[in-house]
Symmetry: C2
Subunit: 683 residues, 2 copies
């Protein structure tokens, strides 16, 4: 044996892993020896090109080596053939063919890494590292031998074990039905997709292709909401989103909100079956549409991950959700589930595809909240972080490295524009932003689908096609906050009269007043006003949200939070300043209030692309302290105090430093609680 | 602590396990401490009565103890209540209630043992010990708590872990859909059926009942033959067969024998789907019929085991069997399979039932042969044992403790009465036994469905309803052997003329002769003869069988076998003496030739009732040396030598000691090979 120090030194970047290898070792073998993440599907046969690397030449003082031109072996026939046929990028080599002869620095480009990091979409979601449950393996299978009879499947299993260290695989009968033909078509060289997750279940061969399969593998990350179902068709090798789409949850015909669907089931025995069939059918349709949109065969979709709230979770699984509608809000199951797609009637993708449903946190805090937690990672935060997923129910997480708490709070649908006099869903024509001049009390606004503000030239022309049809969730929040800043409502939420406010836009309406944002009645259009009832509905919703956050802060013993992350598609549209003026969220530095976008969807994608992420969230939910708002004695108290805008007692110093709220009071002794339909004891 | 020797001594019979326990220990707890197999479903709550024991009193010199009347505690309220309600057998106590106070001898009756031994049906099948994969557990589940939210399923899993040490259970969505209602109906006391087999898969909760479920659990042991499908509905607690039934394999309409079904698939692309649907439909029908016959709910059938030949194996699983019809006879899969019953469309039993398909040994030696091996256990035999499962294909096993070999041999359907001039299936009216007087050359016979021999008074009256319709497999074997013993055929198989044999029953038929057993033509009935062609067909079949056995003996280096076991429903009807005169089987002491009955069916039942049996056969098949007759050079040679009756060269000393075969020769220079359609090179 020669002195190992005489052996060539190989340094891989960007990992920085280095070591000496025997001269003549292939780059792929060297990477495996040194634990460098270098991909290969064909197992070193020079056909898949997944193991491409870029050698660097010259002096590297940083690494203390000089790389000569002959550091790697010359191109061999396999490499030459690959380059002729497919073309290798300038400077690239096939890691399984190029042999190390002298000291060398080798760069592994991202596309050659199995565990490549996928660029994160938002500063408030953690980066995602590819670690999918289902992977492709190219294998050469031994041919049958009458002297040593064994099944084709057993020889495939042996090949996977010997060539890839994938042990003890199993398969469904439908795979076995396909196996013999493909083995012979591929002349005993085949690519198989093997699903091996973190559950300890034996790896399962999902599909097989003759020769090297280059069509990729795909998965669906599904965010199953009460109102909309959104899905991202994702490349399981790169993490890239190939297509994204959404559709309305067809369960809406059984009830707009979750509790009305639960009621439907309670009133109609067996009704859960209809609801289950409706949502499963929608998932199957969506999957089909996405495959079409991306131009891929549905058979290449081999996995799906699903996040949803507890009621949708139960209805998807065919479980009667009645227990979730009443104390003690017992889930049938809270753990994560790994299921054949067929169990969910998701038959429009690969027939052997697997689905993964994220765990629920509690009876009111579902797999969607778990996904938000996975995406925003409060348990890894140094700062005390408040995460709010705003929807019909708000899911709230509070925590840092030491501990995370969670609750849900029944905000109701006001934040989505429902129960608002001129409210509508976020759709073209809806007012989504509002500004009120504090001097003139005149409003200006923007509508969805139009780039101009309403007071800008060209607005009328631009809005001709959409019209101004109503006000959506983010619009009503801005409107109420702007009214408070302009002195049109007082801290109790009471709208002043025309006299009190000095603007004719404050119109009397019975014993209360409303503020007119837009009057299109002359042109046969609607009149968009904010009524006293609208203010009360927003107050109820925001009080519930604030009270939930406050409850978690109490439990944690926190006076304030360092950072607030708003999640949910809606969260992305809320202006932090307006949310804080309204008192939806606790006081915090405005630059510390950010949006994580559709964090639940991001969490679903992370679980789709990474079994490590699945393991993380399964462990994570167990460590979260669950707070049940319905039985927390202080919830009512917090709720009542949060009814004022922004708050009856909390000082909001950070907000005060940037916004000066006028001190007004319009209570003239009448019933100030107006449209407030819930009677509450004042604390 | 008191001196342990002062503690009461408890001796359990029949196990003989003994030890000292703290005074006041319940019998059930003592049994668990001492590793005594004492059943309990309710976990010691005094409601299931599975832990009944019988204390014995008086002096036991054998055990060295004297048992006093107060050895056990007095009846408590729970025992009294049970006795009042259900009645305890005289002398019995509930093991979970009776406490040990002084030295005692306790008998555990068979019905209180989990691993009770089931009485074996035949001397040639091994005894069966109950060790089913699916068992019942009574559990008390914690109620939901809003302060510690968790799913009902997680609390059930915790109860199973804490109360029964059954860990990490999983369940299907359809179970989860049922869970909440049953938990509440049972007031948080439920019985669950948990399937935990030997595969290392996580235990699976299959079903749940409120309170204590006393309806039992059942399984189906299915013997899926090419011609008939037989199933035994078996009690999974006792091993008792509750109902047995069979039906014709509906695939017969696609081809009588396996190769014609394989041809059908080869000629009709997609034809395997029709064959698969046909056989699956039959299994579902059979399961339904058996549940009805036994008067149980089909939901209580939670398992099925299936044994079958390789072609049926593939067709059941939906796999194109074409590869099995041509060299190298590659199985798609040879391993055992554990599948949801739904994967086999077996939807007439519990929707979450599991099926287990025994492993195949090789492309020609299927799961049916594996089941025969399990039932007859040649690998545990001190003597060299030859096991022959006679059917359209004969499966042959040869071995002892040191080594087991297996092959299959293409006997063709002659042994089943097919390709025989007067042949028919074994059904009423078929001649099943034949005797020929060696002096008068006159035959007498018995037909199925009639108790009299044909020469006895009352035969005509008794046979009036059945008639004499033909000759079945066992009948033709006896007839040919009797003809040889009576000197009507010579060792080459040639039938003598009336002149040569001295009986007018030998009628000329072209250039050959036939022997008339029964002539019913006067009454419009059939004439049942054994033609030269019939003899040739039987010779071909028996030569194949003998040659297969001989091949295994060659491989083993054995001159003779110690013991022969005939398996298969047909095996049960073959007389050992006639089989040996014919030279179907090698020479052996006649009293060492026995029948194991339907050993394949017995093997299926063993696998149904015992996971240990499954483990045993899975390990076992790997150790069996497979011999492929199609490529064995000496097979042809053995086949030709075995054409003579009993054999051209083998001496058959054991047979000679009990039967004196006449030395005759009817070859007059004509073509002695007559109907032998295969031309073979003489060795």
């Amino acid at each position: 044996m020669s002195d190992p120090n005489d052996q060539p030194l190989v340094i891989f970047t960007p990992s920085g892993k280095r070591g000496r290898v025997a001269p003549g070792t292939t780059v792929l073998a060297a990477a495996r020896q040194l634990g460098v993440d270098l991909d290969s599907v064909c197992g070193g046969r020079g056909i898949c090109s997944k193991c491409q690397i870029t050698p660097s030449y010259g002096q590297f003082s940083k690494h203390g080596v000089t790389v000569h031109e002959d550091a790697l072996s010359e191109w061999n026939k396999v490499e030459q053939r690959y380059d002729d046929k497919r073309g290798l990028k300038q400077g690239r080599r096939l890691g399984c063919q190029a042999c190390i002869q002298r000291d060398v620095v080798l760069d592994v480009p991202p596309e050659s890494q199995v565990h490549r990091q996928v660029i994160r979409k938002s500063a408030d979601t953690r980066p995602m590292v590819m670690d999918p449950a289902t992977r492709l393996y190219f294998v050469e299978v031994a041919e049958p031998d009458m002297h040593e009879p064994s099944g084709d499947f057993e020889r495939l299993a042996t090949a996977l074990k010997e060539q890839w260290k994938v042990e003890a695989v199993t398969a469904d009968p439908s795979f076995l039905a396909k196996l013999q033909g493909v083995l012979r078509k591929g002349d005993w060289q085949v690519t198989v997709a093997v699903h091996a997750d973190h559950t300890g279940a034996t790896p399962r061969v999902l599909d097989i292709w003759p020769g090297l399969h280059e069509g990729g593998l795909f998965g669906l990350a599904i965010d199953l909401g009460s109102t909309t179902i959104a899905a991202h068709l994702t490349d399981l090798e790169t993490g890239e989103v190939k297509a994204a789409s959404g559709l309305m949850n067809p369960q809406i015909r059984f009830g707009e909100d979750l509790m009305s669907r639960v009621s439907y089931v309670m009133m109609n025995p067996g009704g859960e079956k209809e609801l289950t069939a409706a949502v499963r059918g929608a998932l199957a349709d969506l999957a089909k549409a996405l495959a079409k949109e991306a131009g891929i065969s549905p058979d290449l979709i081999v996995e799906a991950t699903i996040v949803c709230n507890p009621v949708m979770h139960h209805l998807l699984l065919g479980i009667d959700p009645t227990e979730l509608g009443q104390a003690p809000f017992a889930l049938a199951l809270s753990e994560a589930l790994s299921l054949p797609a067929g169990d969910l009637d998701l038959t429009t993708i690969n027939t052997r595809a697997r689905t993964y449903i994220l765990p629920c946190i509690a009876g009111h805090v579902g797999a969607d909240a778990a996904a938000v937690s996975l995406a925003t990672a409060p348990e890894m935060s140094d700062e005390l972080m408040l995460v709010i997923d705003v929807g019909t129910n708000a899911e709230i997480l509070l925590g840092d490295k030491s501990r995370v708490l969670a609750c849900s709070s029944p905000t109701g649908p006001a934040f989505e524009g429902a129960q608002i006099s001129s409210g509508q869903r976020a759709a073209p024509g809806a007012i989504e932003r509002v500004e009120i001049n504090p001097e003139t009390k005149e409003p200006r606004f923007r509508v969805i689908g139009v780039d101009h503000w309403s007071d800008e030239d060209g607005f009328a022309a631009a809005a001709a096609s959409t019209g101004v049809t109503g006000i959506c969730g983010s619009g009503i929040i801005e409107a109420v906050a702007e009214m408070r800043m302009a002195g049109l409502i007082d801290p109790s939420g009471l709208i002043g009269s025309a006299e009190q406010t000095g603007t004719a836009r404050c119109e009397a309406e019975g014993r209360t007043h409303s503020y007119v944002i837009y009057d299109g009645t002359d042109e046969g259009g609607p009149k968009v006003s904010v009524t006293q009832g609208d203010i009360r509905a927003i107050q109820l919703a925001k009080s519930a949200l604030y009270a939930g956050a406050q409850l978690l802060m109490d439990e944690r013993g926190a006076e304030k939070v360092d950072r607030i992350v708003l999640a949910g598609a809606f969260g992305a549209h809320i202006s932090p300043k307006h949310a804080m003026v309204l008192g939806m969220i606790p006081d915090a530095p405005l630059d510390k209030v950010t949006s994580a976008g559709n964090a639940a969807g991001t969490g679903a994608r992370m679980a789709l692309c990474s079994v490590a992420a699945r393991r993380q969230i399964e462990t994570g939910v167990g460590k979260i302290t669950k707070i049940e708002t319905a039985i927390a004695p202080r919830f009512q108290e917090h709720f009542v105090a949060a009814n004022a805008i922004p708050h009856a007692t909390a000082p909001f110093p950070e907000l005060s430093s940037v916004v000066n709220l006028p001190t007004v009071s319009f209570n003239t002794g009448g019933d100030g609680s107006g449209g407030n339909r819930r009677r509450r004891r004042r604390g």
